[in-house]
């Protein structure tokens, strides 16, 4: 392996002193679009600049690439700390770890790690999330069943507390604050850096098995069939046979396979090939066009395919090739509703899909997958069972009431919804879905008695509760 620089800095960091510039007024929204929140925005270059930016502010929240769909990374009327000015990382080849600042994206890491023979053990459906965001959301990938969440691979992290200290937290020290920070939505402090355990790989190629499925039951069966650990089902909820779809199971390609090296193009990441313009007309994305597109996608997929070689990036991050794709939904944007229900509660999935159809709320993208056991983090989303993610137009009539009914169904089955996708959950539903919420609140409140760390999501759902 060729020797390389120990420290990478893939994108220009802000010039020295840039972090001391006073925060500017800005309007931000989540990845799903919709109404923008007026905030003060600062992009500090380091921890000192970050501390300085906090001066005089009564509430603040960190924000990375803004890929949370709802209002997790914003605080209307407060300070938003853009961490993308802090983006260096260092690879430890001996130990197989990378130590990265919070603002580095997973795509930037993969671009440097994979050629060196390493890969992040967990990646989400987009490469454009930061390390800080990945920990704060305790993200999962298609391989949750075998690899767990991103947080399970974090060996240590630096957390800026509201008192201005930087704490080094690690799981092996039994730190409650560490566990509260995984999936803690940025509300325990600002994650400054993290050390992540890597997985050795031979290259950026995957071996993919594909099955076309005719309904939900077939999809569930195909998701637990033998095969690679990266498993996901795309479902077509607009077609005549509701719940038909395509299931893939993928694994990293072994070393020394010349056919594979020659047979697949692309690498560990994806380049965007097109950008959706800012003023995309809302009417172009509608059920009839998506139905036709889905029909084509279903028909083009092989009925059964084994061992197809595909690039890691193209398989893992298909939507990243179309920049700003949520603009397809027009100015109102989209709501993503991602739920998980435990094993044995599969009937909830069928009920949800049936109610969507009856309410005539069009679901333009539905993704189903299996989850392995939950971890120790009180607000971590995954639990052993099935997760279903639905992309719905925010402007669709009746969508708010429908999702409230789903909340009741999901909570009743001891399931939950994913906070990083959420833009509308109410406090009572949150409490019903996350049984360890009170414990998390007590750990959080000890770490931040003044409740400096707050977000629109935190205030809306009651994660943050101001007492007298």
């Amino acid at each position: 392996m060729p020797p390389s620089e120990a420290v990478f800095s893939p994108a220009p960091a802000p010039p020295a002193g840039a972090g001391t510039i006073a925060p500017v007024r800005a309007a931000v929204s989540g990845w799903g679009g919709g109404p923008r929140a007026p905030v003060m925005l600062a992009r500090p270059a380091d921890a000192d600049a970050l501390r300085a930016a906090l001066d005089g502010h009564r509430g603040a929240i960190a924000r990375g690439m803004g890929r949370s769909y709802g209002d997790a990374a914003q605080l209307a009327g407060g300070l938003v700390l853009d961490t993308t000015g802090m983006r260096t990382f260092e690879l430890d080849r001996e130990g197989g770890t990378v130590t990265a600042q919070a603002g580095v994206t997973l795509g930037e890491l993969l671009g440097a790690l994979v050629p060196a023979g390493w890969v992040l053990p967990v990646v989400p459906g987009t490469q454009h999330v930061t390390v800080g965001g990945a920990i704060a959301s305790d993200i999962h990938g298609k391989n949750h069943g075998s690899a767990g969440t991103f947080g399970s691979h974090v060996q240590a992290l630096g957390l800026l507390t509201s008192a201005g200290e930087v704490l080094e937290l690690a799981p092996d020290r039994g730190s409650e604050l560490f566990a509260a920070t995984l999936g803690g939505m940025g509300l325990t402090g600002v994650i400054l850096w993290a050390r992540i355990a890597l997985r050795a790989v031979a290259g950026a190629l995957l071996r993919v098995d594909t099955d076309r499925v005719r309904d939900l039951d077939e999809a569930l069966a195909a998701l637990i069939a033998p095969g690679g650990p990266h498993r996901v089902a795309w479902l077509d909820l607009l077609g005549s046979a509701s719940g038909r779809g395509i299931v893939t199971r993928a694994e990293h390609h072994g070393a020394g396979d010349a056919y594979a090296q020659a047979g697949a193009r692309g690498g560990a990441t994806v380049r965007s090939r097109a950008t959706v313009p800012e003023r995309w007309p809302a009417g172009l994305l509608r059920a009839s066009t998506v139905r036709a597109f889905n029909e084509l996608r279903y028909r083009r997929a092989p009925r059964r395919d084994r061992g197809h070689v595909q690039a890691f990036g193209a398989h893992m991050f298909p939507l990243d090739s179309l920049r700003a794709w949520p603009r397809l939904y027009g100015p109102e944007g989209l709501l993503q509703y991602q739920l998980v229900v435990p094993l044995g509660a599969e009937h909830v999935l069928g009920t949800v899909i049936g109610q969507l159809r009856r309410a005539r709320v069009p679901c333009y993208l539905a993704v189903l997958k299996d989850f392995g056991p939950a971890n120790q983090a009180p607000l971590s989303f995954p639990l052993e069972g099935w997760t279903l993610a639905l992309d719905l137009p925010r402007a669709a009539p009746g969508v708010g009431e429908l999702l409230q009914r789903f909340d009741t169904l999901v909570a009743g089955a001891n399931g939950r919804v994913y906070l990083s996708k959420d833009a509308r959950l109410a406090p009572d539903a949150l409490a019903a879905m996350y049984p360890r919420l009170e414990h998390w609140r007590s750990v959080r409140d000890r770490a931040d008695p003044e409740r400096l760390w707050r977000s629109d999501l935190g205030l809306r759902t009651g994660l943050i509760r101001d007492e007298r």
Partner: protein, 251 residues
Amino acid sequence: MIQWDGTRVLLVGGSSEIGLAIVRRIASERPVRPYLLGRDGARLAGAATALERSGCARAELDLVDAEDLDSHAAAIARAFERSGGFELVVLAVGVLGAQQGLDADPAQAAEVMRVNFAGCGSLLLHCLRALRGQGRGTVVVLSSVAAERPRAGNAIYGAAKAGLDALAQGLADGTAGSGVRVLVVRPGFVRTRMTAGLAPAPMATTPEQVAEATVTALGGRANTVWVPGRLRYVFAVLRHLPRPLYRRLPL
């Protein structure tokens, strides 16, 4: 944010001295959780901290520009969502502008009309809808004696306030029986940052006196309150003065 047994107060125009005096006055009697909405984040933060020092619960704040009408729905919805509702809304949005009437700077005159009538009126509509949605609550609208009968010197400010005052009264009649109440407050000349440098008119008052009169009125059933109270009778006369006479009054 929920299960709060004190009074949740939304102050729109969150750095208004009169508005803040009203919040402090209520907090002197019972627990208050303030929510400040305004244009200037630094000023709001200062006001929030000062309220907490004088005994209020943790204050929340958010930015809104009265002139940015499109932003009002989201800002008001967010306030009600974050707070879990409000018992009281105090609408204290307003600018004074120059006092030269016809000779005022046209841009400034237009701003007074946009902020004090269109902006404040839009915020009032959104607040009243939200209060009606929760089925109870009171909105205090800070009007002015200038609304009763504008003069040459305060024609623009007075006309904008007259529009707001009329809107508030009309909407108040529309909410009768819904559990929502509208209280219109018409102070005379109030010594504040806004009027600094102006010669006080007769019967000049202070933010604290306006707050006192407002809180007293909140305890009763009135729909309008004048501060000081004598102004009600003064204007009962002034309103009917023939214009040639009114014009010559040394007000």
